[in-house]
Amino acid sequence: MNAGVAMAAVAVVSLATAIIGFYGLRISRTTGDFYVASRTVRPWWNASAIGGEYLSAASFLGVAGLILLSGTDALWFPVGYTAGYLMLLLFVAAPLRRSGAYTIPDFTESRLSSRTVRRVTSLVVVVVGWLYIVPQLHGAALTIHIATGLPSWVGSVAVVVVVCLTVVAGGMRSITFVQAFQYWLKLTALAVPILFIIFVLAGHGAQPQSAPAVNPTDLAPAGLYQNVSLLVALLFGTLGLPHVLVRFYTNPDGHSARRTTLIVLGLLSVFYLFPTAYGLVARMYAPGLARSGQPDAMVLRLPGELVGGMPGDLLSALVVAGAFAAFLSTTSGLVVSLAGVISQDVLGGSVRGFRLAAVVSAVVPLGFAFMTGSLALAGSVGLVFAFTASTVCPVLLLGIWWRGLTDAGAIAGMLTGGVLCGGAMIAGSVTGSVQTPAWLAQPAAWSVPAAFAVMVIVSRATSHRVPATMPRIMTRLHTPERPLATERGPGGQ
């Protein structure tokens, strides 16, 4: 791969991100802009921004690499990532928007009238965010190393620096523009090279080296349990991701929150066709890429492998640009939502506090990223989904739909899920990816039901603690907003 062209691509994406961020700075000056873009973002913008933020290193590099390795088994990843949004639409989107809360801790505090619940939720959200940023930084390290030959740490540090600059400068409003731009950049950066590759292969009448059903390595195929557990994690993990949820507050009302989600589902469906195509083409025409030991790098290497020459360099540079957009957008989305939580809970909610919190939220995972080695990206992100599904998801679902939830139940359930899933993750990383038994490698299938069960049982046992404000809040979550300009006198029925 041509290092100069690749470096130029990274520089252009970083610069474009910064420029759009600063452009947003000029118009993000009213109260509230910093947190939620004043809730006036149009559905298409918002949907593009959600797509941009959601499609992380795992989607851009990891999914295609896993499909190359394990074929149709790995198709559950893109399906699960997309179907997770369906679950979010069904159970969370409109009520959460109507709650009027800014962050997940805001929601749990108001729903359960408890400061302690708020603190526990904040802790969980920060852990989720940090866990999720680490794979992004690993992806950046891998990409920079392969594309330019520079040391890996340069990639992680570059992402953290650009994200800090953008977030500190503009807050959520500029982030919305940046994210929306990055969705379309990511789509282009995946679509153009693979279409070009298919065109070239067809033009040369190239013969496949291998059938799509043949695995290029002797990696054991995933069993039924692992696929089911993975789907549980992805389906229920999405609706607890902090950076995804904060986006719903930027819709003007509950109905538009649903419409936005519908557009997001369309955008994700289109996007995931392309990693699937990369995986299939690589299995048939370049199965050797799987044996490099870095399946995550397949998307970066495929254009050079199958096209080569100057066109190959240019296409590779485009892929590198898209990959960088993925790291930047997911990391900045996470940093914004983490900074929102940290600054409100610890620093009193001022703009200065938000900026300080943003820097802290980005730098801590950088330390983690340096200390840990890179695993398969899609796999490590899948584990973060399992953690969210075991902690944030039960408290959101039960909080929205069940009147009987109490603060004690919520705390007990979140801690149970966090300890079980977190314990499995730690045990799995200690034993190494090869020896880990399936039930430990994919904990969601048992840790999610356990968290739900504990939350329900403890809530039942402490039913006297159901807050008095509950009926009023349930009403607010589920009743449609009144159409504009229809003020009525009090007490009217």
Binding site: T31, V79, L262, R472, P480, G491, G492
Partner: protein, 123 residues
């Protein structure tokens, strides 16, 4: 350029900008009555039922897809337009099902809300 101090509300934030405080409180006052609560409960029940039905239906179809490939031998390898059917089904065919489920849900959820508005006598 003047800076504005952003203070995030610690307590439950009040209504979304439009409509204002007064309208929200009157809306909630109306819904606090016993009759109002009956309507609200029935709205929540019907929305939950709808969400569960759509989720259940989707999961059944999702489970059926790989099952078809296992039950019908050779189907996964059948080529359609040069591509194996198994790949087309799981890699492409599932997304329209997701989109259709979502669209059905959004439409019906809005209808449930319209019915609630009629019942509760809101404009």
């Amino acid at each position: 350029m003047s800076r504005v101090r952003v203070t995030a509300p610690h307590a439950f934030p009040r209504s979304p900008a439009q409509g204002g405080r007064r309208s929200l409180e009157s809306r909630e006052a109306a819904q606090d009555s016993e009759v109002g609560q009956v309507f609200v409960r029935s709205l929540i029940r019907s929305q939950l039922r709808l969400a569960l039905v759509v989720a259940g239906g989707f999961l059944l179809i999702l489970a059926a897809f790989p099952l078809i490939l296992v039950v019908v031998p050779g189907l996964a390898e059948t080529r359609i337009g040069g591509l194996p059917f198994g790949w087309l089904l799981l890699g492409v065919g599932i997304y329209p099902v997701i989109g259709l489920s979502a669209w059905l849900y959004v439409r019906t959820a809005a209808r449930n809300e319209a019915r609630y508005r009629d019942l509760a006598g809101e404009p």
